[in-house]
């Protein structure tokens, strides 16, 4: 064991900023990270054990106790629950003979729940030893446990019906499907890797690239919509000879899975975008921050990077040009939604807990290892490549005034054709519902932009997807009339934010718990109308949190109340303000039981 630990640490040159990788690799080798292991790492890196625990205990995929030879993480997302997660969960529990959160006494199976794993178009899904198992049924769950008890390998359990496209690549062999329902003119159009790099090498200077991107009015695709050209320009002008390009593939917003599909089918497009950004900004290093849920792609992506190096598209003298050096490494996360926030992502890549930084300084001025750092979304890099290839003018012909080009949407929930849609900006929610085969009269609500976005009603289905109207990072969860909005959606999202808060800012740390508790109380039928008023009133305190997670963490509740007030009112109508949820029988139960037992 000591040898394993030392070998891993040596692999990363004893660099404490690579603590995430060190912990991930050690956990892969040893199954979990024991106190003894922590001490060994502490000695080898010469950092206190509390610092290691500070990082380790932040991420929910790290374990300090054995987590089972087979570790099942069942997706607890809204859509997973729509499609029968509870039934699957029940079978896992029955067959394994344990509850979720436990490991079988023989150490064979560990059952855990996890937040959205980016498979909302094929739920319920689970990660088993990091391999995705989408579209689970109780029957499949039963079979999986049976095979585990027979000692079958994960490959055997997976079977050989791999998903479409590169999901079947020999380095992935994943059961995941792409479900690309509509290919647009930007991301999913024809593409030959290296063409953009060739063009850049032949005819474009770094300022030319930035000018072209600025002319295209490209805005960040992660959700915030910051102008990409401007970001690159600031980074180019920032002081310092070492700069970094980060690709944010920490796609954690529940209901979003477009980056998974892009990385599966078009990894070279993503990397080419990073390389061009590097050229434009003057950066020689790129880091793809890949969420742990997508770690099953890592080997495949490493292979793609190697192919690009072999083709002269990565490494030294890119495209044969002297001084055009750029290389990319992959940094895996370990389970923390907040790491999708760019400064938290940088902290995480530095081996720390993913706690957002105070701004200013912004990452473009002082980011990774305090160097100027550009962080862009997967889709943003892809779009940039196409703009370089086809020109800003071409790009500007698509979309709306404020929102040029296309957007890749992740559509899931109650519809016939969940999956990926690349559409021009400017389509209405209704258009998307029609495309996805959702019957409008059966749709209660659409959650646009995930839990941090808004829950809209029929009245707003004619709104346009664009920065000037309904801005979105790209996810639409369709919620049918058969769903219980408060219980199935709002509660799930509030629980999500409660679990994902880093805890640093007081309003976020505490109010996320309070919101979850009050929603739970309403679901139990113990709410009062003053509870609804308080939920609306207190959300204002969240605006002063440091990061986007904290600032939007009560959106699921307040947008749902705004647009579905009648559902909330209905659920509290039986309780006057004199009703108190205190239950005397419950409160004395413990006492009564103590004496009954005797």
């Amino acid at each position: 064991m000591g040898n394993t630990i030392n070998a891993v640490i040596k692999k990363y040159n004893g660099d404490e900023t690579r603590l995430m990788d060190i912990l991930l690799d050690i956990q892969t080798e040893l199954g979990y990270i024991s106190d003894w292991t922590i001490e060994q790492i502490s000695k080898a890196l010469d950092i206190p054990t509390v610092e290691i625990i500070q990082t380790l205990s932040f991420y929910h995929f790290f374990h300090r106790e054995p987590k089972g030879k087979y570790t099942i993480y069942l997706n607890d997302s809204v859509v997973s629950n729509f499609y029968g997660k509870e039934e699957v969960k029940k079978v896992f529990e029955e067959e394994a003979g344990i509850k979720f959160g436990q490991v079988t006494p023989d150490g064979l199976i560990g059952l855990f729940e996890t937040a959205c794993i980016g498979m909302s178009d094929q739920e319920p899904a689970a990660l088993i030893n990091e391999q995705p198992f989408p579209s689970l049924t109780p029957e499949k769950a039963r079979k999986i446990i049976k095979m585990m008890k027979e000692g079958k390998s994960i490959e055997d359990i997976k079977g050989n019906k791999y998903g479409e496209g590169n999901n079947s690549h020999y380095l992935m062999r994943s059961l995941v499907n792409n479900n690309i329902q509509e290919r647009g003119a930007v991301i999913f159009s024809d593409y030959t890797p290296g063409d953009a790099i060739k063009k850049v090498v032949k005819e474009l200077s770094s300022t030319d690239i930035i000018e072209e991107i600025k002319k295209s009015y490209l805005r960040g695709r992660g959700g915030a919509g910051f102008p990409t050209g401007l970001k690159w320009e600031i980074a180019r002008k920032a002081q310092g000879d070492i700069k970094y390009i980060f690709c944010n593939a920490d796609e954690g917003e529940p209901g979003t899975f477009k980056d998974r599909v892009i990385l599966t089918e078009l990894p070279k497009l993503v990397f080419e975008g990073m390389i061009i950004a590097g050229y434009a900004v003057g950066a020689k290093y790129g880091i793809l921050y890949l969420r742990n849920e997508y770690r099953y792609m890592r080997e495949y992506l490493e292979h793609v990077l190697q192919e690009m190096r072999d083709d002269g598209l990565l490494g030294k003298f890119i495209g044969g040009k002297k001084g055009f050096d750029f290389d990319i490494r992959i940094q895996c996360g370990a389970g923390a939604y907040v790491c999708g926030e760019e400064s938290a992502l940088i902290e995480s890549a530095e081996g720390k807990r993913g706690e957002p930084r105070d701004r200013p300084p912004f990452p473009v001025e002082s980011g990774y290892l305090n160097r100027p750092t550009v962080v862009n979304n997967v889709e943003t890099f892809c779009t940039a490549v196409k703009i370089i290839l086809n020109g800003a003018e071409w790009y500007n012909r698509m979309g709306t005034k404020e929102s040029r080009g296309t957007k890749v949407l992740s559509v899931s929930g109650d519809c016939e054709r969940p999956g990926i849609y690349e559409v021009e900006w400017g389509f209405s929610v209704n258009d998307i519902l029609r495309k996805a085969g959702a019957k409008t009269h059966e749709v209660l609500a659409v959650q646009v932009g995930g839990p941090s976005g808004s829950c809209i009603s029929e009245k707003e289905f004619n709104r346009i997807l664009a920065y000037e109207d309904l801005a979105t990072g790209g996810s639409l969860i369709i919620i049918g009339k058969k769903r219980n909005l408060i219980k199935d959606v709002v509660l799930n999202f509030q629980k999500f934010f409660m679990e994902e808060s880093c805890g640093s800012c007081v309003p976020c740390r505490v109010l996320t718990v309070i919101y979850k508790n009050i929603i739970e109380k309403i679901v139990r039928g113990e709410g009062r109308s003053s509870d609804i008023e308080n939920l609306q009133k207190w959300a204002v305190f969240m605006k002063n949190n440091r990061c986007g997670l904290g600032q939007t963490a009560t959106n699921p509740t307040i947008t749902a109340i705004k647009n579905f007030k009648f559902i909330f009112e209905e659920s509290v109508k039986n309780n006057s303000e004199n009703f108190y949820s205190f239950n005397e029988n419950e409160a004395v139960k413990e006492y009564v039981e103590i004496f009954n037992k005797k």
Binding site: E577, N578, Y580, F582, E584, E586, A587, V588, K589, E590, Y591, V592, I594, F595, K598
Partner: protein, 185 residues
């Protein structure tokens, strides 16, 4: 004269009577108070049952057992205004320090394992006579059980705070709270 007097009831739930003691610390002002109010159910005059509807109910202590709950609800029913007096009524106070410990452990520590009992309770008896109120899973602040209108903090609340508050409430005058009387300890 009596007609215009406000009627006050007081009780101590899971408290130590310190708040009541502090109440008596208003000293000679108690004579002024008697001019303004009449006491009904209260340990101060030993009236055990409500004999009429009251204007103001003063609650000391939080709720640690089912009897506390019943008394508190009775106060809510019989008083127009309820005041949580002191930290225990407001947020559980020191009795609520047990809230993080399972009830069973608390009882065993108190009756079986604690240093003052472990040698004398050889039969390991925890009293559980049906006449003893049933202990709640945790200590509850009063406003989690019934609506509370005003809160006067302190452990105990300073006599001046109690006096100022009661005087303002009874006379309708403005309530003045000097900094030094508003304390949690």
């Amino acid at each position: 004269m009596t007609k215009n007097k406000k009627i006050i009831a007081t009780t101590s739930l899971a408290g130590c009577f310190g708040c009541h003691m502090s109440f008596l610390d208003i000293d000679e002002r108690i004579i002024n108070l008697i001019e303004l109010v009449e006491f009904n159910k209260s340990p101060i005059n030993d009236i055990k049952k409500f004999t009429k509807h009251c204007d103001i109910g003063i609650i000391e202590g939080g709720c640690c057992n089912d009897e506390n709950i019943h008394v508190l609800r009775e106060f809510r029913k019989n008083c127009d205004i309820l005041i949580s007096l002191g930290e225990c009524a407001i947020m559980g106070g020191l009795p609520a320090m047990r809230n993080g410990i399972p009830l069973k452990e608390c009882l065993e520590e108190a009756y079986i394992n604690g240093p003052t009992v472990k040698d004398v309770n050889s039969q390991k008896i925890i009293p559980c006579d049906p006449d003893i109120p049933k202990i709640l899973n945790k200590v509850y602040p009063c406003h989690e059980i019934v609506k509370i209108d005003y809160f006067l903090p302190g452990c105990p609340p300073r006599a001046d705070l109690i006096w100022n508050a009661l005087y303002a409430l009874v006379t309708g005058n403005e309530l003045l709270i000097p900094y030094e009387v508003f304390k949690y300890d």
